[in-house]
Symmetry: C2
Subunit: 270 residues, 2 copies
């Protein structure tokens, strides 16, 4: 049987669905997720995604699903699809007394296939979001299911001519896009926010950092502020689904140099 959604490895039926509103993902956002890109029939950076998912589960003390089970389920939903998005959600599952996690959780695993979003027609137009990201070190870096900040940020604009919004944290530091990490080329150094207080450490972010270093480009993870943008030679945003996306404009700022973004994209075969 083929299905584009697997819940605990099974195509949804009455039994397997009955638990879902009692699931701690539904009740508290108590879980983590990954969004993976299938390109030319294979999953990009699969091992990095599985590694981050395992790390996220460990930090939240959710028993991580077996990596080979996940590999198998991702293959099953993908089938013969050449280009698509796969989303994996792992929650702590049902149960517990209120917020308190059950001592022996039975995690829920959802693997689902989605079509690719429409491709970019060229370098991006960005805006600043009013919605800030709260500083929460215990969740910093994690791709967890508490995403109201990003939902509210993306609801700030409807202009299809704007493809992404940049978010600051509540102290005014630059964190990244609503669903992307941000990179800035400044004085020959590739700089990206260090995300020590908040933000998601993207799988593509890691690929870009590693690849740039391999190419001999110095990379710095450090605090960035909106004031750092006007002096940047080049700006791009990254995520696992859309790869490396050069930025053409951000409010009144503009960039025409996309050299490093294109070099990294070519090197990573995106």
């Amino acid at each position: 049987m083929t299905s584009t959604v697997l819940i605990g490895g099974s195509a949804p039926e009455h039994e397997s669905q009955a638990a879902t509103v009692a699931d701690r993902a539904f009740q508290y956002g108590d879980g983590v997720f990954e969004t993976l890109r299938i390109a030319n029939g294979s999953v990009r950076f699969l091992e990095s995604h599985l590694q981050r998912l395992a790390n996220g589960c460990e930090r939240l003390r959710i028993p991580a699903p077996d990596a080979s089970t996940l590999r198998d389920e991702i293959e099953r939903v993908a089938g013969a699809t050449r280009d698509a998005v796969v989303k994996v959600i792992v929650s702590r599952g049902p149960g517990g007394r209120g917020y308190r996690a059950p001592e022996q959780p039975t995690p829920t695993r959802v693997v689902a296939l989605y079509p690719l979003p429409a491709p970019d027609s060229g370098p991006l137009a960005l805006r600043w979001c009013d919605t800030r990201v709260a500083r929460q070190p215990i969740l910093a870096g994690l791709k967890h299911l508490n995403r109201l900040e990003q939902v509210l940020a993306q609801s700030e604009w409807s202009d299809a001519g704007i493809q992404e919004g940049l978010m600051l944290d509540t102290e005014g530091e630059l964190i990244g896009g609503t669903s992307s990490n941000v990179f800035v080329v400044r004085d020959g150094v590739l700089v990206t926010p260090d995300l020590r207080y908040c933000g998601v450490r993207g799988v593509m972010r890691k690929q870009v950092i590693d690849c740039a270093r391999t190419l001999g480009v110095p990379v710095s993870e450090e605090p960035l502020w909106p004031e750092d943008l006007p002096g940047a030679k080049e700006v791009f945003v990254t995520n696992a689904v859309r790869g490396i996306r050069p930025v053409a404009t951000l409010a009144e700022l503009a960039w025409s140099d996309h050299t490093l973004a294109r070099r990294l994209s070519a090197e990573l075969r995106l």
Copy 2:
């Protein structure tokens, strides 16, 4: 047909459940909830709960369910139950492109009945939690579904002799219990954190504030810090399910005066 869970007004069946892992509550914690107490066959402070739910929906720009529909569904799950807990969840429903909310959301409504937790055997023993609450003014006060902080905080202890943990925000201000608001009697004034940056404005918190003022007790909503606790004459925590709970100990601190907690409980007929 009777059921202890209603989803969109129906007892769970295959059709109504099929959407739940695609629901934005499951994917992003994109919604709000209420936990109501049925005591002696009637719902306590029902109108306050419905009002807060409507306000929460408005702040998240989720179309609020009709109050009379909710009243009816709460009655239906409660049936002839004399003492129980009802949880109402309203999410933005399925759909949207990634984090972005659909322009015309179809919210999901879940109304579920739960048994009462075991009653307290006396005034509470509290601890301090290491998990901090992040400062996020746009979500402050709301009972939204992004509750990882509370989940992690309640996972800090397993000693059944400790009934609640107090949480500070990331700057060290006292916010409240993991699932309660906190009140302190100091120099004849009833003080509770103002929750301007984070925390949940509980329905019971509001009842206590209003009731104390009616009794002529001065009330102040203001920033509180751990240093304010040793000088307190009386401490209690509140929530809608358990009412007003006097605090006997907090780590090395102890209180034996529970006069105001008991007076307010009597006045509010808890």
